[in-house]
């Protein structure tokens, strides 16, 4: 290979490389203009000239095209070179007086300002005739011809060329006409060094701006794009609808340019046949098209956005990078209005249901907007604020109280734009009759669009043989939300109705449980187990480190000098092998890596490439295939943390890359193999609580063949459901309950224990032991715990409840009084009794629906009855809204009273007198009632919950309901593994929702029970007993209860419980606890090696 000298340094390069390539190897910068790596060289602009001093014919040559010949001695910055570049620049300035890049170079080369010999070019009358084409701004063009070359030699159509002679020479299209052969690919504009070309000026096929789908049409994207920053896999896709190649067969620039040859236009969609035992439909939803509500001006007024668009504006990875700015002028909006129920609860657009999620997402957006810009005034126009989910009410209260979000209970009738400034005037009726119609100006309006059935649901449902409801959502079976009408086809998420994230996750886990029941007999029969060679024992060996530095095509090597990094690393202690490869993650490099490991007897491997978050598992797999423990692998990220973020500073980026890899070498020397231990799983479950939730969960597990111990503290199964007759939809709960109890009793795997409670629980996931107390004092071994302990109805303390037999709760009404004769009678229902107040600040979720159901029951059978529902908000979400609508149609009267002024109930002869403040009429109303029904809330079983919480280390929330691991994403798990929650013990819910959550808990539990053994160990903490002072700091610190004091009186970590967060290690005052692969010594070696210009000897292997 040729060896040459550049500026006094020698370098060896591959044959066929240019002087420019050789200089790059040495990190020597040479300016270029007409050079682009994907375009064949022409040496046209002469800015890259260097001087040959010896070894060839002396003189100036262009570095970009002159071959790097053996023996050449080159100077890149000699007086002659500088003189020549100055001359070139002086000519260019005359030619292209407005080109910024030339000006910068002129400044860099200290060019004296040269008087322009001619004024800047311009057409005589200031505009071009319509039928001629001017591809190029002549004040910017330096005539390098790169655009012509890329069009001719890379893309192919030859749409532009040089025309004219002498000073009239310019870049033009043939005959200066719109160029029919131009395919509008934009490659010319892309490569132009001075930004002189605008393809729209000469192409009849200019690149259309494609709205960015993920940014809800805000901003645009290219035909080749990565759909969004978190896409899996994170690779670009070609949008064939907009790709020139797919549309015209031309272009093909991407395949010519891609250094990895990854582009294959021949890949076709394939039809595949799959043999499956069950199908789960998870199609999701579409957002309502806001343009259908034309009164709000979406699509006409630039500052009227949908909530999806606003969400993207708030997002750090969105079109404005999280800066709050309105589309019309990119200025910060100060007054933002949200309009609720756009495309929901609206007969005009056909969506009479409630979309369930909009009230909360609007509230969240308002809070986040105020967090972005504190002086934003947020106003939410709503009908009923439906904060019915767990924790939602307190979130709503915080929005009002801490963030001063203004809630206006009114529907906006129209939006008009102001004549100047694109502000928006909202017209609405203010609350209370006296205030009348008002107009208010805002800077931006966000439409809280509803959720609709996805356009593809109908087709998918038809294929799967599943029924859809009138709104196009797939229809669930009564009581069992994850079941469709067809056996073996299951539903999860918004495909079956608008719902929030926790409900979606629960329904999905529930569907998984039902699939598990169906497929239990064939579980694991199609699993392929990977085989690995036996692991080589490396204990006692001196570290032998191999380092693979990746070019990542040009992603890294275009900035970081990969060769230099690789050479440098070779000099570090214990590094016995280095190489740099174009794509380290490619299949052939993986194969070679295995060979190299054997050949050089490596016992540590470092890859310096991209983020370990995506590629570490791949390389660790290779380690295992090569017979090495996967924890002897270390990664240095020189792409995301280096080349991509320091692209303007190649020298510093290369230095940083060396630091990063040196850090990895420092740590790698101390890496130790980590063994995973198998711990057997007791394939049995403890279910606490014999209500419908507990029974459903027990049954789901029993049907999968797992033993279940179902513990009920009373003498009877059934719990709260015993008092409910029918569901809102009219289905018979008692029948369902009876069937469930019969099935539970008949299920051989289920052991029912009545009149008993939990006395003591020990052990950890997979291996618990529970002692019972009460009628049974048995001991039971099991792998998981499901808490389904239920809740109670609130016992009202006011409204004459308990004083008069004319005041009852909804539950008492449904159980005992619903069949009375209400002809001509007056029934008054009062909502939010024991909910949303000081004592019980949460919403009980079910009371609105229950009141509507009972009111409908009375009204349909006794049309002459007067039924009033006195409410603060009616929260009949999803399809329950249809029953609220029906109740109003049948004449049930709904009276809204203020939060702070509850109705007064007093005795009135043989009846009751209810006085209520009506917010619409803005005055008190007296109602003479024959029966007052209190919608009493659901309260937790505080005493028993606290006891169980203490015993199982399962957290409670501030309302004393059990607290899941993550409100949205892990709605049935606890932070402690192996323990699950469902039913009313988690939060107030409708019965069918409790059933879903019970199935979900069973589904999650089955993940553990279906395993023969759990892998424990890995990245977990361990205690050095010699250093442990038994101070119990770790025991207090760990929320997973992993540390315990062992028989020797020392702290020890139960590996099966340890989650590997390392919090105990940081807290341990004696530094007795270390987290594997993140030990203090390893971490210290990492940053010491980065900070020092060496791998410090003091932190070497012991």
């Amino acid at each position: 290979m040729p060896v040459l000298t550049i500026d006094g340094q020698t370098v060896e390069v591959e044959k066929g490389k240019t002087l420019l390539d050789a200089a790059k190897e040495l990190n020597i910068e040479i300016p270029t203009l007409c050079h682009h790596w994907a375009v064949p060289e022409a040496g046209a602009c002469r800015i890259c000239v260097v001087e040959i001093k010896a070894g060839g014919r002396p003189g100036l040559v262009p570095a970009c095209s002159y071959p790097a010949e053996d023996g050449l001695v080159i100077e890149t910055y000699s007086d002659r070179v500088v003189q020549s570049r100055r001359m070139t620049l002086a000519l260019m300035i005359n030619r292209a007086p407005r080109a910024g890049v030339i000006m910068e170079l002129a400044e860099q080369y200290q060019l004296p300002s040269i008087p322009l010999k001619s004024p800047p070019h311009s057409t005589s009358d200031g505009h071009t005739p319509e039928d001629t084409a001017e591809p190029c701004d002549t004040d910017l063009c330096i005539m390098c011809g790169l655009c012509v070359r890329v069009c001719r030699e890379v893309i192919g159509p030859e749409a532009t060329c040089f025309s004219g002679r002498g000073i009239e020479r310019e870049i033009a299209t043939p005959y200066k006409q719109l160029s029919d052969v131009c395919i509008g690919c934009g490659a010319c504009a892309f490569v132009c060094p001075t930004g002189a070309i605008d393809p729209a000026q000469f192409s009849p096929n200019p690149l259309a701006s494609i709205p960015h789908e993920f940014n809800a049409q805000l901003g645009d994207r290219r035909p080749i794009h990565i759909p969004y920053a978190q896409a899996v896999p994170l690779v670009p896709v070609i949008d064939t609808e907009n790709c020139i190649h797919f549309q015209t067969d031309g272009c093909g620039a991407c395949s010519k340019i891609c250094p990895a040859n990854a582009i294959d236009y021949e890949i076709k969609d394939r039809e595949q046949d799959l043999n499956v035992g069950a199908i789960v439909l998870t199609g999701g939803f579409d957002a309502f098209d806001a343009a259908r509500k034309s009164e709000y001006g979406f699509g006409r007024y630039p500052n009227v956005l949908t909530a999806m668009q606003f969400e993207r504006i708030l997002s750090a990875s969105g079109p404005t990078e999280g800066h709050l700015a309105r589309p019309s002028d990119h200025k910060k909006p100060n007054r933002i209005a949200w309009i609720q129920c756009v495309g929901s609860r609206d007969a005009a657009c056909g969506n009479t249901y409630c979309s369930s999620v909009c009230c909360m997402y609007a509230t969240k957006e308002a809070i986040v907007a105020k967090e972005h810009e504190a002086d934003v005034e947020a106003t939410i126009f709503y009908i009923d604020l439906r904060a019915f989910g767990k924790g939602f009410e307190s979130f709503y209260n915080r929005a009002k109280e801490e963030h001063s979000v203004r809630y206006v209970r009114s529907q906006v009738s129209s939006i008009k734009e102001t004549p100047a400034g694109n502000n928006l005037i909202l017209r609405y009726v203010a609350e209370g009759n006296s205030k009348g119609l008002v107009e208010e100006e805002f800077d931006m309006v966000v439409l809280s669009v509803g959720l609709e059935a996805q356009a593809t649901t109908a087709e998918m449902a038809a294929i799967a043989g599943v029924n859809c409801n009138q709104f196009g959502f797939a229809e669930s079976q009564p009581f069992l939300q994850p079941l469709s009408n067809r056996e073996g086809v299951f539903l999860s998420g918004a495909v079956s109705g608008p719902k929030d994230i926790p409900e979606t996750v629960m329904q999905s886990s529930a569907a998984a449980a039902k699939v598990g029941e169906l497929l239990a007999p064939v579980r694991g029969t199609e699993v392929k187990v990977s085989e690995y060679p036996p692991e080589r024992d490396v204990t006692g060996e001196e570290p032998r480190i191999g380092v693979f530095v990746c070019h990542c095509g040009i992603n890294i090597s275009s900035v970081v000098n990969v060769t230099e990094v690789s050479e440098y690393i070779r000099s570090l202690p214990n590094v016995v092998y280095t190489e740099h490869t174009i794509f380290t993650c490619s299949q052939d490099t993986q194969e070679r890596m295995k060979e190299v490991i054997k050949e050089h007897n490596l016992n540590r491997v470092i890859v310096a490439s991209c983020t370990p978050r995506t590629h570490e598992p791949l390389f660790q797999e290779t380690m295992r295939q090569a017979g090495l423990n996967k924890c002897l692998f270390e990664m240095a990220d020189i792409r995301e943390q280096c080349s991509w973020v320091h692209k303007d500073n190649p020298v510093a980026a290369t230095a940083k890359a060396k630091d990063l890899v040196r850090g990895s070498v420092g740590k790698s020397r101390l890496l130790e193999p980590i063994q995973f231990r198998k711990v057997g799983v007791t394939k049995a479950a403890l279910v606490v609580g014999g209500g419908i939730s507990g029974m459903t969960a027990a049954l789901a597990l029993g049907k999968q063949g797992f033993k279940v111990c179902l513990v009920e503290k009373t003498g009877e199964l059934g719990g709260n459901l015993r008092t409910l007759k029918t569901s809102m939809e009219g289905y018979d709960w008692q029948e369902f309950l009876k069937e469930t109890i019969e099935q539970v009793k008949a299920q051989p795997e289920i052991d029912i224990v009545l009149n008993s409670e939990i006395d003591e629980v020990t052990g950890f996931v997979g291996n618990f032991t529970t002692k019972l107390k009460g009628e049974s004092t048995a001991e039971f071994k099991h792998g998981v715990i499901l808490l389904a302990t239920g809740a109670d109805e609130y016992q009202p303390q006011a409204f004459e409840y308990g004083q008069s037999d004319r005041v009852v709760t909804q539950r008492e009404l449904a159980a005992e009084r619903i069949d009375d004769n209400y002809d001509g009678k007056t029934v008054v229902m009062i909502q939010c009794v024991g909910s949303r107040d000081k004592e019980h600040p949460y919403c009980s979720r079910v009371c609105c629906g229950t009141a509507v159901k009972n009111a409908l029951d009375i009204k349909t059978r006794h049309p002459s009855a007067n039924v009033y529902i006195l409410y603060r908000e009616i929260r009949t979400y999803e399809f329950k809204e249809l029953y609220y609508r029906k109740a109003r149609e049948l004449g049930v009267k709904f009276i809204h009273f203020p939060d702070e002024a509850y109705p007064n109930v007093s005795g009135n002869g043989s009846g009751m007198l209810v006085t209520v403040r009506d917010t619409v009429l803005d005055r008190d109303i007296d109602l003479k009632a024959d029966l007052v029904v209190l919608s009493a809330g659901i309260i937790p079983n505080t005493v028993s919950n606290r006891r169980l919480s203490e015993m199982m280390k399962a957290a409670l929330n501030e309302d004393n309901f059990f607290m899941e691991a993550h409100v949205k994403l892990r709605p049935v798990d606890f932070a402690n593994e192996g323990i699950f929650v469902c039913g009313l013990a988690h939060s107030p819910k409708y019965t069918e929702e409790n059933v879903t959550q019970a199935l979900a808990a069973a589904g999650r539990a089955a993940v553990i029970l279906s395993k023969e053994a759990l892998e424990v160990g890995g990245v977990v903490s361990h205690v050095d007993p010699d250093k442990c002072a038994t101070c119990l700091t770790c025991v207090r610190e760990c929320i997973y209860e992993a540390p315990f004091v062992n028989a020797d009186g020392k702290a020890e970590i139960e590996e099966a419980k340890c989650q590997g967060c390392g919090n105990c290690a940081a807290a341990c005052p004696a530094e007795a606890i270390q987290l594997r692969t993140f030990t203090d010594r390893q971490e210290r070696a990492l940053f010491m090696s980065m900070l020092r210009e060496e791998v410090p000897a003091g932190v070497g292997p012991e």
Partner: protein, 154 residues
């Protein structure tokens, strides 16, 4: 005193480290001074570890983790905030300006924030380095003089 400071950034795997990845994917440019150390959780960073980074020659230390309420390990970041506050006191006692240490909340989606935070923190450390030099030159040091940690650096 060096012109270009070196900054150690302890980044939790689930949030700040992911944000750093995203900053890369989005090509958000920031100064080359940041050296990221990946840790499972900011709750893993002890006061001792932070101080050692200074002893080894770091000019600044960033601890970056999840936003409050979204820690993968529930409350590791809450502990980290406390430990960083404590470590700042310890730094002050040893004569190192506590502004050289900071905790930042960076959610996984906040790539641009990671870049701007890194840039701002680098700028802060550069100014402290410049100030440190100035106060060392004046004998009547009115500003508390930093005994900067250069001893271990070669």
């Amino acid at each position: 005193m060096k012109n270009e400071p070196t900054i150690i950034a302890f980044c939790c795997h689930y949030c700040a480290f992911t944000a750093a990845d995203l900053a890369g994917t989005m090509r958000k440019q920031y100064p080359t001074n940041i050296r990221i150390v990946r840790i499972p959780c900011t709750g893993k960073v002890s006061e001792n570890m932070v101080l050692q980074a200074f002893v080894e020659g770091a000019d600044g230390v960033m601890v970056a983790g999840c936003e409050i309420g979204s820690c993968h390990f529930i409350q590791g970041n809450v502990r980290a905030v406390k430990r960083v506050a404590h470590a700042k006191k310890l730094l002050e006692e040893t004569g190192v300006n506590p502004d050289r240490l900071e905790f930042y909340h960076v959610a996984a989606s906040q790539g641009p924030l990671f870049a701007t935070t890194s840039a701002e923190f680098t700028e802060r450390i550069k100014q402290l380095n410049a100030g440190g030099k100035a106060s060392a030159d004046t004998t009547s040091a009115e500003t508390p003089q930093e005994t900067v940690h250069d001893s271990s650096r070669t």
